[in-house]
């Protein structure tokens, strides 16, 4: 009889990859990249336990709930996963959030006395900001590469996809924008304008400078907040001992594309 193959390392990699698609909805940054995932454990029965923490004890409970819930759903999509538990540590609403997410409750079920609805509107509002920031970063890059406003506004989706972007980080900017654009202009064919407003409409050329100025405000705010959160998380947990146990893993290194995107975004600005 052959001994069972131990593929737990691969499975943990798959879990980390799923967690990497979960973003902090307020910052639009992957929770893995932010350092929010403290540890991932894989049990012998293929149950997965995710432990996460946030930059402060007081981080907004609505966003914390969304992240916990999104992590659970993302990991549960892996076909081999038998069960998922997600545990938030060191937070003023940790107990309620862990119980609610663990039982598959909605936000309003988790906080029956403290909420008036679920988090659809909140998420939608921050998805708009994420769209604006991703679009600004890509427009800014293309403008700095020599595209005039007129050329940018004429650009079709197909043409945007064909632009040769030499740096992986810049290809990542485009991929991130195209991913979120689908939510705001779902019906676009290859000839549709690449850059559209939040309403999915073409951007008017005379307003382009004002349009960019408004987007910049959103981008600067998000980047400042993300940086502050990274700093607070670092000092909050730097004295903590590393997670013990053979089944715990550190986050894998980012793929080359993501690493490059990260350094493009941040190193040059700090």
């Amino acid at each position: 009889m052959k001994p069972p193959v131990d593929n737990s390392a691969e499975k943990l990699q798959e879990v980390w990859a799923r967690l990497a698609v979960v973003c902090d909805p307020e910052l639009d940054e992957p929770v893995t990249d932010m350092g929010f995932i403290e540890a991932v454990h894989l049990d012998p029965d293929d149950s997965v336990r995710v432990h996460f923490r946030l930059p402060t004890f007081w981080c907004a409970p609505n966003f914390a709930f969304l992240m916990a819930n999104d992590m659970r759903e993302a990991v549960a999509r892996l076909p081999w996963v038998a069960g998922v538990s997600v545990t938030l540590a060191d937070h003023c609403y940790a107990e309620q959030i862990n119980r609610g997410v663990g039982q598959g409750h909605s936000f309003s079920q988790t906080f029956p006395d403290e909420s008036s609805a679920d988090l659809h509107d909140l998420r939608a509002r921050f998805r708009q900001k994420a769209f604006q920031r991703r679009q600004e970063l890509l427009l800014r890059h293309l403008r700095d590469s020599g595209y005039t406003p007129q050329a940018l506004l004429r650009l079709s989706l197909a043409e945007l996809g064909e632009i040769a972007l030499d740096e992986p980080g810049n290809r990542h900017l485009r991929a991130r924008y195209l991913e979120i654009r689908k939510e705001f202009a779902p019906d676009g064919g290859p000839d549709a304008p690449a850059f559209v407003t939040l309403q999915g409409q073409p951007i008017e050329a005379p307003d382009f400078a004002d349009y960019m100025t408004a987007l910049r405000r959103v981008r600067v705010n998000a980047e400042f907040n993300a940086n502050l959160c990274r700093g607070l998380l670092r000092v909050r947990y730097e004295a903590e001992p590393p997670t013990q146990g053979a089944d715990a893993t550190d986050p894998p290194r980012l793929s080359p594309d993501l690493s490059a995107a990260h350094s493009d975004h941040y190193s040059s600005k700090t």
Partner: protein, 333 residues
């Protein structure tokens, strides 16, 4: 007073300071411990290493240390005390008007004493506000809208009782309303940091000045948009200014946005002492120049004249401080 290389004197008003008591014996519960730990993390995350305090000093630094750090080492000529009561977290309160009044008594020419109100205190709170004005002659209040109070986790300035308090404040001669947003306003499904209620209040009370602490962060983008439309909305720079040392590029971007949208006449320097010390912030701020790319893109600049407004002149206008007369008075003492 900060002296430039050219020998020019700059009058400094630190518009955001605290004298708190967060010692374990004053903590009511875990929330008191977590609150001060969180503040301490802010200090550790952004201060130069030599300005990071041990936990016990951070919990309670006392009036003499404050005086030394602000007025001897820190270039400040005056400072505005912004109370934060937190009586659900601290037995005698974290940083009340009464505690700060002792500081005012010790250093009357240096300290501007602000009060505070909480609209959830109802009629009794209105009387308390009146007593604060009678006793201390305050013309400014600090509001922390996310303060926990029993089952309530905060309030909005658009709440009917908040409107009543603002009416009362105006009738009592209060001019300046400092507002600090926090993370946990009910209902929890809404964005607690949303600054839209400040927009409502600023429209309803055009004679009051609304100074939004931390320039609305983490909603700087929404704050800037409101400030464009409401001439009585100001930005307090605490937190943002601490980025000048460790993260100068982010600081530059924030300043460019603020100068573009809010303008040089409506920004107030604040250290948020004891979280950060004005000494290093002001030294870095005075040496700081907006990078060329941001000047070109936004058309704004952080000139010495603009810095002078931010460091003192703008706050002096809001609090009716005659800089020349006050400088003479401080020098004479």
């Amino acid at each position: 007073m900060f002296k430039t290389a050219d020998g020019e004197s700059i009058f400094v008003i630190d518009a955001h300071i605290h004298l708190w008591d967060a010692r374990p014996e004053n903590q009511r519960n875990i929330h008191g411990a977590q609150f001060i730990n969180c503040f301490h993390d802010y200090q550790k995350a952004l201060s130069p290493e030599e300005y990071i305090w041990p936990a016990d000093k951070f919990q309670n630094y006392g009036p003499e240390t404050l005086y030394e750090d602000l007025f001897v080492q820190g270039y400040a000529d005056m400072a505005i005390c912004q109370p934060t009561y937190l009586t659900d977290f601290y037995k005698d309160g974290f940083n009340t008007t009464e505690q700060n009044a002792q500081l005012k008594e010790m250093y009357p020419d240096r300290i501007v004493l602000n009060g505070a109100f909480d609209p959830r205190d109802g009629e009794a709170g209105l009387e308390y506000l009146e007593a604060l004005v009678d006793t201390h002659g305050i013309i400014g209040v600090k509001l922390y809208t996310a303060e926990w109070r029993g089952d309530s986790k905060g309030y909005k300035l658009s709440d009917p009782w908040a409107q009543r308090y603002l009416e009362k404040a105006q009738a009592l001669g209060i001019k300046n309303i400092h507002v600090h947003k926090g993370p946990t306003i009910l209902p929890l499904n809404r964005d607690a940091f949303d600054v839209a209620d400040i927009d409502d209040a600023a429209t309803s009370f055009p004679a009051l000045n609304f100074i939004v602490d931390h320039v609305g962060l983490p909603r700087l983008d929404d704050f800037c948009w409101i400030a464009v439309q409401e001439p009585n909305v100001y930005g307090g720079l605490a937190v943002a200014s601490a980025f000048v040392s460790a993260r100068p590029r982010y600081f530059a971007e924030i300043m460019a946005e603020l100068l573009f949208w809010v303008g040089e006449d409506r920004l107030l320097f604040g250290s948020d002492y004891g979280i950060w010390q004005p000494k290093w912030i002001i030294e870095k701020f005075m040496a700081f120049e907006l990078p060329e790319d941001l000047r070109a893109e936004t058309g704004v600049d952080l000139t010495p004249a603009v810095k002078k407004k931010i460091l003192g002149e703008n706050a002096a206008k809001l609090y009716g401080i005659d800089i020349e007369a006050q400088s003479a008075k401080l020098q004479a003492n």
